[in-house]
Symmetry: C2
Amino acid sequence: MKLDRRIDIKLTPQRLAILECLVGNTSHPSASDIYKSVFEKFPTMSFATVYNTLETLKEKGVVVELSIDPDKKRFDPNTIPHHHLLCLRCKIIKDIFEKFSLVLSESEEYNFDIIGNHVDFYGICPQCKGVESNKHK
Amino acid sequence: MKLDRRIDIKLTPQRLAILECLVGNTSHPSASDIYKSVFEKFPTMSFATVYNTLETLKEKGVVVELSIDPDKKRFDPNTIPHHHLLCLRCKIIKDIFEKFSLVLSESEEYNFDIIGNHVDFYGICPQCKGVESNKHK
DNA sequence: ATGTGTGCAAACGCTTTGCAATTTG
DNA sequence: CAAATTGCAAAGCGTTTGCACACAT
């Protein structure tokens, strides 16, 4: 999250609380996670504000929206390009900083203007391996 | 979609209609897309049946669920490992058959049992480039 | 008869929206 | 003060669920 450079938005208390929740947060929280976390110290916080703020931060390039979790959007305050590893059971997401060479042949570009790419790895995390209660579903 | 091998499920008319909709379908349809398409020829089709059938087909390895589209799950009857290219405006998805070397260093595996990976490319498709009505949002 | 699949409608979770009241620069 | 932001509640959309009915072996 680029907090060192000036982000040109009005800094309301609500936004500051959301930013504070995001700085250094490597849990890839959903909007709901953020709402719950911020609500504790800020009981008037509303979902609308969380979603509005996330949208603004996305536009400013301060956070990135992930679609690795099929159930909901999750947000990453780390804007350094990197990839992710998802546990299919508990949905924890780990960061992957390995660099891959992902060059498309011209025929596979389909004349798109390619903006970016993202590698998702899927697996089972050490905590979920062997935990009987997680084996079904 | 592996229709050449026997898939061990009861082939009801509803399931056949859904399979027929999926065979050779490269549009990566959502459940709703499939429902709409099948409903035309099968007016008693219900959402429940579409979702139930997709779940069954997923378990049998006949279709793959994609999470590249942040708005909804989409389904791919092509089970040959491949990657995808999404247009951020119209959400069309193209298949990418390029092979990439995606080896994780041990430290980046976080002790996960890694099951698979998927490369998502993002961009703007030729149809959406320069279409004024798509430029905002 | 037993188990499996279907269809409907309700419910659910995540996300968006409209709008009046408030706050910010 | 003008413009932007907030909070609330309702609505929207994709998805899941419970249950009665139908079907197949």
